[in-house]
Symmetry: C2
Subunit: 224 residues, 2 copies
């Protein structure tokens, strides 16, 4: 584990929530790697809190699929097998298509503008080599689409599925030669939404997800 886990205390939230968000970020960014143990006392010391909020945060991570607990042994960051990834992809494809269909019908001009902005910001970020920023702008782009569905339940579920893979996806984003493809796919999605071409969007999204699958698969194989 990297040793710069620190709590962001600005908001007046229960510590369990702060810890939860901190650990979640650390897992998604790869600071806490799949298989790494989550030891309560250690984390508590590092974050300067007691075990209680740590334990509660772990229970939440567990329910999100980001941690796995073995009774009386402890928790660790969830690992993904190839099968897990395929399962996740299968579901994500269905939900992405659903999201695209709904968004296609409901998206407002305002949201379309937002989407174009998000696309540009992603494009700019790919030129900065700032990985964190690239990942963030990419997430933001898709968030606009998901939010346009006006279905928070769907948004939550898709985000959860994305999380499962994102921590294995860093490498993909490191490789600059993927950027043109990514950008092209983003453009296609925007175009599809503008022209309300459901099949075009669904197809672009499928490609988008499938392209990442290969990269993630490599990471998973390394881990195993």
């Amino acid at each position: 584990m990297t040793d710069h886990l620190t709590l962001n205390m600005d908001a007046y939230l229960p510590l369990r929530d702060v810890v939860f968000h901190t650990l979640r970020e650390a897992i998604l960014k790869g600071d806490l790697k799949p298989g790494e143990r989550l030891m309560e006392l250690q984390l508590a010391a590092k974050l300067g809190v007691s075990r209680t909020p740590i334990r509660e945060a772990i229970r939440m991570l567990e329910q999100e699929g980001l941690a796995v607990t073995i009774p009386r042994k402890g928790a660790e960051v969830a690992k993904m097998t190839e099968k897990d990834m395929q399962d996740v992809l299968q579901v994500r494809e269905a939900l992405d298509e659903l999201a695209a269909n709904i968004a296609c019908e409901r998206i407002t001009q305002e949201e379309l503008d937002e989407l174009v902005t998000a696309m540009h910001e992603f494009e700019i970020s790919t030129r900065t080599k700032d990985l964190k920023r690239i990942a963030e702008t990419d997430v933001k782009f898709h968030d606009v689409i998901y939010r346009a569905t006006d279905n928070p339940k769907l948004v939550t579920m898709v985000n959860n599925l994305r999380e499962q893979m994102y921590r294995y996806r860093v490498e993909y984003l490191k490789d600059e030669k993927n950027y043109p493809t990514l950008l092209k796919e983003h453009k296609e999605i925007v175009e599809g939404l503008k022209t309300q071409n459901k099949e075009m969007i669904a197809e672009a999204m499928r490609k988008h997800v499938a392209n990442q699958a290969a990269a993630v698969q490599v990471m998973i194989k390394e881990q195993e």
Copy 2:
């Protein structure tokens, strides 16, 4: 709250898990009603444990969408609005269709037999007037289909969505005149799987879910 919450301690599980399952059951069965407060001390006393496992169980319920916590105020059983229900149904329809498609391709003869058995058991249970049993056999029927997808992630997600509605569905199952419809839909699904007719299954599932929606809606309106 009814006062017969008791722990089923046979398995040597951490108390948090036992408490989690106990509370979840109570919520799904309607013993703990939407909006009802989940007070730690009270529950702890009732179940004969300390607050710690109760709190951890609540964190898990929260992540499953069965409980809602307001910081420094406490947790309560999650309420569903009509909008929530529509959102859930929208996602469930997509996932049900996905499950049906996969199951259609992969279901084994063994699983088909299981399904027929489950259907018969449901039919028998509808004649017993034992609500708990009726609900259980219905769940079991659908479980066979979901498990046939060989996609645990999908199973988890669909089950989660079903949970959200099940606790509002008791009334629907109380009304005997719904049984013939339910049975007919089950038969259609089985028939579709046997003949690998994807469209037939998807259609039957859609109807199946839609029929319940109306009943659930009534309950939700009453709650509001």
